[in-house]
């Protein structure tokens, strides 16, 4: 090996300063990856506390007060500091500009600023934990949060407010970049579906996040200054807070799931060596989810005293949002049909996503229906449902994408055997954790309680055992990924023989992504074109 190593974004300069002041979207993506992983670990520790406490029906590990703080911190950290930034800020940041053949995002300094805002709000959140944590639930419902809670609500609400701006800046960057910086020949309908998913996500971020921002500002003004906007003693309406909160926080679940769907489109196509079936339908379904997703927030308030008519309207709209989701699942399944499918770790996660998301989505319909929701509202059925979509969906998608692009990010392969093994452990652990919660919830176990009736203990033991397996699986995954970043086998530029601009450049890429601006002469996922050009027959 006498060949001099090529210049890439990792070795172009060294030292901590070269990272902290970088404007390179790839380095910022890696910095986001490190940050969200750390927050994930903190959030997982909070979940561990909750699951251990729920092993027994009595409160023998912690007080009710401590339990409230544990599940709140789990929710706040996982949603605001892990799930929302995970795919857009890590994978989107890294691959989106490369996928469209750009040198960088449109606003690199704003991109770096978004990372600092993220870290700063994360630190404020951690200070909130060190000051005892908050006990309002991640939903900050008033008037409990604005008047009665004795915990540092202002601090944590401010962190959640601030972190919203880091995702707004990321979304703004993506929108401007996709509009103006596509490579010559790369028309809108040649864009990879991941880029479309990022675009749809950015729209939701731009139009949803500011509403929760103003809501949290009003909450903070109520609590810190003493204004009375949500204070019932002045005639303020706490249900108004719920409306405003869910106007963002329901679309927020699409901020978490749309990117994962984008990853699955990439991975399913790459490991079937086949064009995605119904490309345009997947594009339109992403946009449809982004639009309809804004019209369903009221399904969180069937029991909060909204009128029967709005309940019915929100119920119908909620069922409607299932349609574009089903379109995607159908298209991925048809993509598999007669493809040359192989089962590397990213594909296992993508298939896991499909299986889990079907369960998560269908149980969502139970909750969308007015009658059943009154029975299931605030039970473990809801907890299981959103963990199937958020963990089974968003985290599976994140892990699929992380493994898929790992060779591009680090220039090293992860160990394939451990990768597959880890995917199976995570899959099994996940099911064991959350499947019993459907049953417990259906039978009436309420969420957010410290004590429960002894008849539910069986399900909770299963669930905690599953969480242990899930945790072990995650430790394994984090372990071998960190190991492989240094010691893994060197990756070639296109280890999966996939189609896409990100695979045309070196692994890891040049600081400017491409030596020269690429021209795009093929449609997305045009495997026939690619293999014909290389003289390979796959028929």
């Amino acid at each position: 090996m006498h060949q001099k190593e090529n210049v890439n974004y990792l070795n172009v300069e060294y030292g901590i300063k070269s990272w902290l002041f970088t404007k390179d979207h790839k380095r910022i993506g890696v910095m986001y990856l490190i940050a969200v992983t750390l927050f994930f670990i903190v959030g997982a520790l909070a979940a561990l506390g909750v699951r251990l406490e729920l092993l027994t029906p009595e409160g023998d590990l912690m007080s009710s007060d401590a339990y409230n703080r544990f599940f709140t911190m789990h929710g706040v950290i996982m949603i605001f500091l892990f799930l929302i930034p995970s795919i857009p800020a890590v994978l989107g940041n890294f691959v989106l500009p490369i996928m469209i053949g750009a040198r960088d995002l449109a606003f690199p300094r704003i991109n770096l600023l978004s990372w600092y805002i993220f870290i700063f709000s994360g630190i404020i959140g951690i200070i909130g934990i060190l000051k005892g944590g908050i006990d309002t639930g991640w939903t900050f419902y008033t008037p409990y949060s604005s008047i009665y809670s004795h915990t540092p609500v202002v601090l944590v609400a401010f962190a959640a407010f601030l972190v919203g701006f880091s995702s707004i800046l990321t979304g703004l960057n993506f929108i401007a970049t996709v509009h103006t910086m596509r490579a010559p020949g790369l028309s809108w309908f040649r864009l990879p579906l991941f880029v479309w998913a990022m675009y749809a996500t950015s729209l939701v971020i731009m139009l949803g996040t500011p509403v929760v921002a103003i809501t949290l500002v009003l909450l903070i003004l109520d609590r810190a200054v003493g204004l009375g906007i949500f204070n019932p003693t002045l005639g303020g309406d706490p249900v108004l807070f719920q409306h405003l909160f869910w106007f963002y926080s329901h679309p927020a679940v699409y901020i978490m799931i749309l990117p994962a769907m984008g990853v699955v489109s990439e991975v399913v196509s790459a490991f079937s060596r086949k064009k995605v079936f119904g490309y345009k339908f997947i594009v339109y379904s992403s946009m449809a989810i982004a639009v309809i997703g804004f019209l369903v927030w009221g399904h969180h308030m069937y029991t909060s005293g909204q009128s029967a008519l709005s309940g019915i309207v929100f119920s119908i709209l909620t069922v409607l949002v299932g349609v574009p989701t089903a379109v995607k699942i159908l298209n991925w399944t048809v993509t598999l049909y007669r493809g040359s499918v192989s089962f590397e770790a990213p594909m296992l996660y993508a298939l896991g996503f499909m299986g889990l998301f079907i369960i998560g989505g269908l149980t969502g319909l139970f909750l969308a229906a007015l009658g059943t929701d009154v029975h299931l509202h605030d039970t473990y059925f809801v907890v299981a449902h959103f963990h199937y979509t958020m963990v089974g969906g968003a985290i599976m998608g994140f892990l699929a994408g992380l493994h898929y692009w790992w060779p591009k990010i680090t220039g090293r392969m992860y160990p394939e055997f451990l990768g597959k093994f880890g995917a199976i452990v995570v899959f099994v652990g996940f099911h064991l954790t959350f499947l019993p919660q459907f049953v417990a919830g259906y039978l009436g176990m309420p969420r957010r309680y410290h004590y429960y009736v002894p008849e539910f203990q069986f399900y909770n033991i299963l669930s905690t055992a599953g969480a242990t397996i899930l945790g072990a699986g995650m430790i394994l995954v984090i372990g071998y990924l960190v190991w492989s970043a240094r010691y893994g086998e060197k990756a070639v530029s296109n280890p999966w023989r996939a189609v896409g601009l990100e695979w045309e450049t070196a692994s890891p890429p040049h600081p400017h992504n491409f030596e020269e601006v690429p021209r795009v002469e093929w449609d997305a996922y045009d495997y026939e074109y690619k293999y014909k050009k290389e003289g390979v027959s796959f028929a």
Partner: protein, 218 residues
């Protein structure tokens, strides 16, 4: 940042035209999110006004229409001067550009000054919720509903004032750069983008003024 000697061109762009297009889309997207941000607050206003119309119109009569009207004129003039500043930059007219930006800064500061006088008088009359609100001297049966109106008044005008303040900070950056002669007919879009932001801040006030000051009973 000075690739091929073109001032202001950032390295990720091919040329200034692409950079301008990106920046404009970026600012429009930012304005869109601002609309939703203030939208949440306006929605809150609408709900409570619908619930407590009398308290709102009584609360409105506690505000001084003259201050509000004067500030409306001030902001409209500032929108005019910022539009003229963009035009001056496009025409390479440095003197006019600096002049119009200074005028905008003057109007923005005047607005904040008036706001300060208004807030002080509310303080003297014990009308600031959470700080010194005292409804006992009010000629209204449910003073707590008036307190709710004042809460919304301070939240909305406070957030708007914060946006004016941010505009002043941006102006304090734009003016020295203009004096150095950096903005030319090929690189004027930072002024144009600031103009977009400033017009937005102005429009928010155009809505706030009637909703807060003009619904009172005379």
């Amino acid at each position: 940042m000075h690739r091929e000697g073109i001032y202001g061109l950032h390295e990720q762009f091919e040329d200034l035209a692409q950079q301008k297009e990106s920046s404009l889309i970026g600012m429009w997207a930012f304005v869109a999110q601002e609309v939703l941000f203030f939208g949440g607050a306006f929605f809150t206003y609408a709900v409570y006004r619908f619930m407590y119309p009398e308290a709102f119109s009584y609360g409105s009569s506690l505000l001084d229409v003259r201050f509000g009207a004067f500030n409306t004129v001030v902001l409209l003039l500032s929108s005019f001067t910022v539009a003229m500043a963009v035009r001056a930059a496009q025409l390479n007219d440095k003197k006019q550009l600096v002049g119009f930006l200074l005028a905008t800064l003057f109007f923005a500061s005047t607005f904040m000054g008036i706001k300060y006088i208004e807030y002080s008088s509310k303080y003297e009359h014990h009308l600031i919720p959470g700080i010194n609100f005292d409804g006992s001297h009010l000629d209204f049966d449910n003073p707590e509903k008036v307190e709710l109106f004042m809460s919304i008044y301070f939240a909305l005008t406070g957030l708007h004032g914060l946006h004016v303040l941010v505009g002043i900070l941006i102006l304090l950056w734009l003016i020295p750069v203009s004096i150095k002669g950096r903005f030319t007919s090929s690189y004027y879009f930072p002024v144009e983008i600031f103009g977009l932001y400033w017009h937005f801040v102005d429009i928010v006030w155009i809505f706030l003024f009637p909703l807060l000051y003009l619904i009172g009973v005379s």
